[in-house]
């Protein structure tokens, strides 16, 4: 038995390669194939990442800069829902990208852990940066 660990996450290079591959395939096929299943993917799972915006990545730390594992991290969009994950043993979290139509400025990253309160989130990736593969955010929690 184990608790939540980091989810697979493409490096920027992998991400771009996947994008290019999918774009090429989509251009050839004219469409991205839809699943067939009750059911399963047709002939192996192709993790297509078409139309995906930047992924969200970052650290959860305390005020002394120590990493905080197993903190709840919510990457959400106001009133539209979001993705909830937990920081890993190194205090990092990773969430794959939302759709391209989601403006990264509307995406809010917050963190929680029992015994702590959220002090601040600092977005390392500038909000106006265009076509970035990753939005990096640091979330700081304070004891008490």
């Amino acid at each position: 038995m184990k608790f939540l660990t980091a989810k697979k996450f493409p490096t920027p290079k992998e991400y771009l390669r996947a994008c290019l591959a999918v774009a090429a395939a989509a251009a050839l096929a004219g469409a991205v194939s839809a699943p067939v299943w009750a059911g399963g993917s047709s002939f192996g799972d192709d993790d297509e990442e078409a139309d995906e915006g930047p992924a969200y990545f970052g650290f959860v730390r305390d005020t002394s800069g120590n990493s905080i594992p197993d903190a709840k991290v919510t990457v959400g969009i106001k009133n539209r829902g979001g993705v909830v994950t937990r920081s890993d043993a190194l205090g990092t979290y990773r969430v794959p990208g939302f759709g391209k139509d989601v403006d990264t400025k509307e995406v809010d990253v917050s963190c929680e852990k029992e015994g702590y309160k959220q002090l601040k989130t600092f977005r390392r990736t500038p909000a106006n940066a265009a076509n970035v593969p990753i939005v990096e955010t640091e979330c700081t929690l304070q004891k008490g």
């Binding site: 999918v22 067939v36 009750a38 993790d47 009133n79 759709g99």
Partner: protein, 545 residues
């Protein structure tokens, strides 16, 4: 009166001295093989002439087996065994008479056709190739065994039209009833070619024998032999029991995956009854997948390509059908799962539309469905599939994203989705159940794991299943805290203790394609139920002390 009862009691005690301590089995014996002596873990099955019921026990150490009292009535029984690598020499049948225990010693001999005895899991173990190559084959098990592929002689070119043809079959297809998919689906030629090439390396296209050694799983031993399994044959091969569950009156209900019938079995007598519901879309595949009860004891069916839900009133034995309205209904509309368990809270039943990769919500009063795509926020190129569903007491939905790796929640009041990625990537969570504490248990089909999500703390736990390539389909946490699981590949039922991860796998008597499982918590010990989706039978599994 008091005196009478005392006397009656003492007479009973005298009449059967020691009966409670050492019950006399109605049929017992020993299993052995010339090459190996006494064999533990051999399944011995007995079926009375003309009866649809087969009872199976497993030999223990020294090859001894015994049917518990009350399991066999007097009569002439055909005998069958299951022990990978062996066949039954004899005797092939035995007479069981009232009051006298029958004794039969079974002799086995080595089989000359081991391949005919392999489970899908054992084929997966035997096939050479990468995990990625094998992954493509897990969909094949929906309709047929892997033995079918292994025995074929197609080369890669010959496989291409076969694969194309198979993408044209509906999910609710079994060998006894093939149904065509009403809407065309894409056939990704390049990916299919890779699969075809791989298949041609694991079949008999290059010779009369397989170019690899056939691997087998060990026979049951120890705790895995302390079990009695009862199989109820259903009267037609075209009955494909998908979801199975018992009710408070002791009846077993099941959905038929390929026909518009709801089935009911009385396990006490073997009596079987079917309740037909009308065709909503003529020419489209028939049959339903999920069968779930609501709070009032009505049974609901997800009608697959018939596009809608059916509610069956158990008291009046009548159906009420809820077809998906025109605006949302097209040739690929497919409702496979649903959760009506708390619909009385807000008048809504959750279901899905597979092709739209979306959740649907039925307003029972108006009969109208509302489309909710919980993945509007995520990359559209990704494949998602809201599949296994449960709802909490406020009718908030928890669903398994079978296409990917998420547990999703849709808020009953706001409709807002929250996505929780499972710790294991590409886990493809499949069916699910909610326990009394509100925890969500689920099978991770593509990860060979079972999982639990606790909504209270928003945390996951995961456990490896003991045998790789079993592809868990469903789980059920019983009242004693034991987690059961069934699958389409190993012919084994898993019982796992989440407290320590220890588990026992119970081998079933026949090739068994299990979908939804159910554990009846009202018996002591609990009783496990499942259907054999490809074998037209209902299976009951009881633990022996």
């Amino acid at each position: 009166m008091r005196t009478f009862w005392l006397v009656a009691g003492s007479v009973l005690l005298f009449a059967s001295p020691g009966a409670a301590q050492s019950p006399t089995p109605t049929l017992a014996g020993q299993v052995s093989a010339a090459d190996a002596g006494a064999l533990e873990g051999v399944l011995v099955s007995a079926q009375r002439d003309g009866s649809p019921i087969t009872v199976t026990v497993v030999s223990g150490v020294n090859g001894a087996f015994a049917f518990p009292p009350g399991k066999l009535a007097a009569g002439h029984y055909a005998l069958r065994i299951r022990a990978t690598g062996y066949e039954l020499d004899g005797p092939q049948s035995v007479d069981v008479a009232d009051g006298r225990p029958a004794q039969v010693d079974l002799k086995l001999h080595k089989t000359s056709d081991l391949a005919a005895q392999l489970t899908n899991t054992e084929w997966f173990m035997s096939f050479p190739g990468t995990a990625e190559q094998k992954r493509a084959l897990i969909e094949c098990m929906s309709c047929h065994t892997l033995e079918r592929i292994a025995r074929s002689k197609h080369d890669a070119d010959a496989f291409m039209p076969v694969l194309k043809r198979m993408t044209g079959y509906a999910n609710n297809t079994i060998q006894a009833k093939v149904q065509r998919r009403p809407a065309d689906v894409d056939f990704p030629e390049d990916r299919a070619r890779k699969v075809a090439e791989y298949l041609s390396t694991i079949n008999l296209s290059k010779g009369d024998t397989w170019p690899y050694k056939l691997q087998t799983l060990p026979r049951p031993s120890g705790a895995a032999t302390h079990v009695v399994i009862t199989e109820y044959d259903l009267p037609r091969k075209t009955i494909a029991p998908h979801d199975v569950r018992t009710d408070a009156n002791g009846f077993v209900w099941y959905s038929n995956f390929v026909e518009n019938e709801l089935g009911r079995l009385d396990p006490r007598t073997g009596a079987h009854k079917e309740f037909a519901y009308p065709v909503l879309k003529p020419g489209f595949p028939t049959g339903s997948l999920a069968l779930e009860p609501d709070g009032a004891g009505n049974l609901w069916l997800a009608m697959m390509f018939q596009a809608g839900l059916a509610k069956f009133d158990v008291k009046t034995e009548t159906f009420q059908l809820f077809p998906v309205q025109k605006e949302l209904n097209n040739d690929s509309t497919q409702e496979s799962l649903l959760t009506p368990s708390h619909w009385q809270v807000d008048g809504k039943v959750w279901t899905n539309d597979v092709r739209k990769q979306s959740v649907l919500r039925l307003d029972v009063a108006s009969g109208k469905y509302e489309l909710i795509n919980p993945f509007t926020l995520t990359g559209r190129g990704k494949q998602h599939s809201p599949y296994g569903m449960v709802s909490d007491t406020a009718n908030n939905l928890y669903f398994m994203d079978f296409g990917d790796e998420n547990v999703g929640r849709v808020d009953a009041k706001t409709g807002a989705p929250t996505i929780y990625p499972t710790p294991t990537p590409r886990s493809r969570p499949r069916r699910t159940m909610m326990d009394a504490q509100g925890r969500v248990w689920f099978a991770e089909f593509a990860a060979d794991k079972v999982g639990m999500f606790d909504p209270k703390v928003e945390k996951f736990s995961e456990w490896d299943v003991p045998t790789p390539h079993t592809y868990p389909y469903d789980v059920f946490l019983d009242r004693t805290g034991q987690l059961w699981s069934g699958n389409m590949s190993s012919d084994r039922v898993l019982r796992l203790d989440p407290a320590n991860g220890k588990s026992v796998e119970y081998l079933l008597p026949r090739p068994t394609n299990i979908r939804r499982i159910f554990v009846d918590d009202s018996t002591d010990p609990v009783t496990f139920w499942a259907g054999n989706n490809h074998g037209a039978e209902i299976i009951k599994l009881e633990l022996l002390p």
